[in-house]
């Protein structure tokens, strides 16, 4: 509903400022006492203090007492990132009877003390500026009431590997309805392909199959196999999900007797056996598949190849149950869920592209996944370790570690976590069946860090497995298709050569090749290694930045079965907590439309990524806000030509006030950075956590989305003689508000054209995208801009400030601002 925008009442501002030492984390490079003394001189500040730990109980008590004693009505805390302690301090205010939205934080740790460790004066001056900006913004904060939304009592689990199965079972057992979506014809995932598991050497399918069956028959679990999630809309507790399920062409009548496959004339490599065996066009991926139902591969079945002309009816005739249905259709299923668990797993590195160690050229060089199928009793060779070239049992087997892992060249730079123990396990499996086989492992480090791992490694030594420290440089094939491996034995300092009959490449784990699909559906962030990013690496390891969305298993990073299961149960518990609560408060970030100022142009409705502003072309009236659909990005507010839209917690006036505050002293030396809450602000936080140093002249203003950034903010800053401006946000395609940042790109591009027309150096305004994992890139950008700033003269900045005036439209808020400042 449209309503009158709340304008700051002329009230008696009573602001309390608290400058935190954070032990020596801040006080080590910022003179906190000086900052607090400076804060006391700012207009409206009635009390300013510095203390060791503001977040501690005594620290919070101090604030509560001050609120009562000094009758404070705004609180500014200069400490760590609001991403860490804003909820803590909002609660403090609430407990003291103050509306939590009357809090403002100045981030003088991640954005200041930690990134200017060796520039005490610069860091202190920056901290003073950040406090000044926070005080200026605090003047425009208004009390807000957080709306409460109900949470749907159902969960979506994407991915039916062991993590997805575990998460689904845990939630289903708790009593929630679970939709488990798997893209393959059966659940089971990677674990179903593995022969034995480390470190206990349990049979993988033997321990997995009962869980698969349980998931298949659980009354609270609905299974969608051969299906993908197509669309996700909504917000925490209220997601609408569209699942696209492909036709199976075999009905639930199927008893998995297999008569159909016996008569099917078409064969293709079986994906489950990584192509080492074949299957028919009508097939079941593996005997323990859930659902235990055959499927027809339309890319292989003659009837589909001939575009629906029924040329072959072998299976139909063979099926006693009449379960074959060539009329089956793909379908979309719409689900309403409160929470989502992403358990999409990983892929394995494929050494074919680079022909690592001759893979793909020499038949007796295979991958560890192929090895799993070869040694599996249910695999293509019936569990006999036969080398591909002559189907003989090899006498000497060499494993090569870190193929596609810990490499800046091929595959990934990180450690894949599981390959060392997997090789130890594989070596022991060989020794178990064929003790006379010689086994050599070429490695750079053997990482046996988990419970029971070291003991398994030691057992392999006892069994005579030989470890050679050094990765081979090349593998040559002999005439009898043996392989000669050349490596430096770094423990001997000699070149060594080994002739082996079979070489197993221990391939690393990589992010799923189709990971972007799910990433874009729920706006997940990626960490530097390309896996999905968790909300906090230590304290919120299964949460994502998106409310109600959780991670389980290798989707978050390479991990073994035990860790995947552990994380799945954790994710289920986190989702369960949310659903058990039944409702959730959402931040009061939505806009308010001033009917007096609105001209009914509909620009806001056009840019809203959520279609949350109802407006019709015909009526051209004041748009109507659909509260439940709005996510609070503020793109509408930036787009409005008459500034009729006020964001509840990020009103224009507050941002102008911040800009004004930071440009009061030496603006020519400063860089203003606009950063979005989800990616670029978090990236700047990461630079701090990682202690990546950059010049102390950058000042950040946080908005929820870069789409909130009105280009007039930039122009105002230029008019106020700021040196440089950086507009930053999530990478295109990674926006947390679907695609709001595309508006940012459009606006900045337009601004550049305008600046050029006025003869203003457009390089003074820059645009950059940073993910939450790109702290180093953020710091590098600031360094680069600081260098450019050095080339600008004061005269140029002065000259261009005059020209900017021509580009600015008069802002009502600015009038308000000047009024407020006069007062």
């Amino acid at each position: 509903m449209a309503q009158k925008a709340q304008k700051p009442e002329k009230e008696d501002l009573r602001i309390g400022v608290y400058v935190c030492h954070c032990g020596l984390n801040i006080a080590g490079s910022v003179d906190c006492k000086r900052v607090a003394e400076y804060a006391a001189t700012l207009p409206g500040v009635v009390i300013a203090r510095d203390n060791r730990y503001t977040c501690s109980d005594p620290g919070q008590e101090l604030i509560k007492n001050d609120i009562k004693e000094f009758n404070l009505n705004r609180v500014v805390i200069a400490s760590c990132s609001p991403r860490l302690h804003e909820p803590t301090f909002r609660k403090t205010l609430e407990e003291a009877g103050l509306n939590p939205y009357l809090l403002e934080m100045a981030n003088i740790r991640e954005h200041c003390s930690w990134v200017h460790l060796h520039d005490r004066e610069g860091a202190t001056r920056k901290a003073m500026d950040l406090v000044k900006m926070a005080v200026a913004r605090a003047r425009y904060l208004q009390p807000q009431v957080e709306p409460t939304v109900p949470i749907k009592q159902a969960a979506l689990v994407i991915g039916g590997g062991v993590a997805g199965i575990q998460a689904a079972l845990d939630l289903a057992d708790t009593g929630y309805q679970v939709y488990l979506v798997e893209k393959e014809p059966s659940i089971g995932g990677r674990m179903a392909q593995i022969d034995k598991t480390f470190p206990t050497m349990d049979c993988s399918i033997c321990i997995l199959a009962p869980k698969m069956a349980e998931a298949g028959r659980h009354p609270n679990i609905t299974l969608y196999t051969n299906a993908r999630v197509k669309e996700v809309t909504g917000f925490i507790g209220n997601y609408t999900v569209t699942v696209h399920q492909k036709a199976r062409y075999v009905t639930a009548e199927c008893t998995a007797c297999g008569d159909c496959a016996k008569v099917c004339p078409q064969t293709a490599p079986n994906e489950f056996d990584v192509g080492l065996a074949t299957r028919k066009a009508i097939y079941i991926p593996f005997p323990q598949a859930v659902p235990a139902r055959y499927i027809i591969d339309p890319d292989l079945c003659l009837n589909f190849i001939h575009q629906g002309v029924m040329v072959c009816e072998e299976c139909t005739r063979a099926c006693e149950k009449k379960a074959i249905d060539f009329t089956d259709q793909d379908r979309d299923i719409v689900l309403e869920v409160g929470t989502i668990i992403v358990a999409t797993g990983m892929d394995v590195y494929n050494p074919y592209e680079n022909h690592d160690y001759g893979y793909g050229i020499f038949p007796n060089v295979i991958t560890s996944l192929e090895f799993e199928r070869l040694i599996n009793a249910a695999g293509p060779s019936g569990g006999h370790l036969l080398r591909p070239s002559d189907r003989k049992i090899p006498k000497t087997v060499a494993f090569i570690q870190c193929v596609g892992s810990r490499s800046e060249r091929n595959g990934a730079p990180y450690c894949s976590n599981v390959c060392c123990m997997n090789t130890v396990k594989d070596a022991l499996l060989i020794k178990e069946h064929w003790p006379e086989v010689d086994i050599y492992v070429f490695y750079q480090d053997i990482r046996a860090f988990g419970k029971g791992f070291e003991a398994l490694y030691k057992r392999s030594l006892e069994e005579g497995v030989v470890y050679i420290r050094g990765l081979p440089s090349r593998v040559e094939e002999t005439r009898n298709r043996n392989l000669v491996i050349y490596a430096e034995d770094t423990l001997l300092g000699e070149e060594v050569a080994l002739e082996a009959d079979l070489v197993v490449l221990s391939v690393g784990l990589i992010p799923r090749r189709d990971r972007d699909e799910v990433q874009k559906l729920v706006a997940l962030s990626l960490s530097e290694d390309g896996f999905y990013l968790e909300a906090h690496p230590k304290l919120r390891p299964v949460d994502t930045a998106i409310g109600g969305v959780f991670l389980a298993g290798a989707a978050e990073g390479p991990k073994d079965i035990k860790d995947s299961v552990t994380q799945a149960s954790a994710a289920a518990a986190r989702a369960g907590i949310l659903m058990a609560r039944g409702e959730v408060k959402v931040e009061a970030l939505t806009p308010v439309i001033d009917e007096d100022l609105c001209i009914g142009c509909g620009s806001c409705a056009r840019v809203c990524p959520y279609h949350a502003l109802a407006w019709s072309k015909e009526e051209r009236g004041v748009p109507r806000l659909i509260e439940a659909s709005c996510a609070g990005c503020g793109t509408c507010s930036a787009e409005c030509p008459t500034d009729a839209i006020t964001m509840r917690h990020f009103p224009d006036a507050s941002i102008y006030a911040q800009i004004q505050a930071l440009t009061e002293e030496n603006p020519e030396e400063k860089i203003l950075v606009f950063a979005c809450n989800w990616c670029s602000y978090a990236g700047a936080d990461l630079a701090g956590v990682s202690r990546i140093q950059y010049p102390a002249n950058a000042r950040l203003i946080r908005t929820m989305c870069s789409g909130r950034i009105d280009m007039d903010f930039v122009l105002y800053a230029l008019q106020r003689r700021i040196g440089m401006v950086l507009v930053s946000g999530c990478h295109l395609g990674d926006c947390h508000y679907i695609n709001a940042n595309e508006n940012t790109l459009r606006r900045v591009k337009n601004l550049w054209i305008k600046l050029e027309r006025q003869g203003i150096d457009k390089n003074r305004v820059q645009l950059a995208w940073f993910s939450a994992a790109e702290g180093a890139q953020f710091a590098a950008k600031i360094r680069e801009m600081a260098e450019y700033l050095k080339t600008l003269s004061r005269e140029q900045i002065e000259r261009e400030a005059e020209r900017v005036l021509k580009l600015r439209r008069r802002k009502p808020e600015e009038k308000l601002l000047s009024r407020a400042l006069q007062a």
Binding site: D438, E462, I468, R469, D489, V496, L498
Partner: protein, 155 residues
């Protein structure tokens, strides 16, 4: 030239040294760090490398001089975190080398001496006299019977 890793030799070593747990070696290097010979110069003897060569199957371990430079002082044995008995390994490898005719000449001579007289050191007339002067019992006795059997065992 690349050193050839020889699974056959490794198997031979493993079979002959079945009771030794040298393949439990983690290659931490504590043996080398505690070895007085390594301390003089790493080229003279690196126990870690001897263990490694035996474990992976490098035949040269028998013929290269380092194997014959271990003083059997047991410093490394006392310190090994994996309780590898390097001296036992050295003894077993040397036995293997001796068997293959690769032992240094001096070693072969000593075996011959012991088999000939039953002692490493001969009993000289001067020593007989000193013994007598010091009131000690005579040191010699008839050992021909046992030495004969030992010679048979030896060949």
């Amino acid at each position: 030239m690349a050193v050839r890793i020889d699974p056959e030799f490794r198997r031979l070593v493993r079979e002959r040294l079945r009771d030794l747990d040298f393949n439990q070696c983690y290659q931490c290097g504590k043996c080398a760090a505690s070895c007085p010979v390594f301390h003089r110069s790493p080229e003279l003897l690196n126990p870690r490398k001897i263990i490694h060569m035996a474990a992976i199957g490098v035949r040269e371990v028998l013929t290269q001089p380092p194997l014959w430079r271990c003083t059997t002082c047991y410093e490394c044995v006392e310190q090994c975190p994996q309780t590898v008995n390097f001296v036992d390994l050295v003894v077993a490898l040397r036995n293997l080398a001796y068997e293959m005719g690769m032992a240094p000449r001096g070693v072969q001579e000593e075996v011959e001496t012991v088999l000939k007289q039953g002692f490493v050191y001969p009993l000289t007339g001067r020593i007989r006299q000193v013994r007598q002067r010091l009131g000690l019992p005579p040191a010699a006795s008839d050992l021909e019977g046992v030495l004969q059997t030992l010679r048979e065992v030896a060949s």
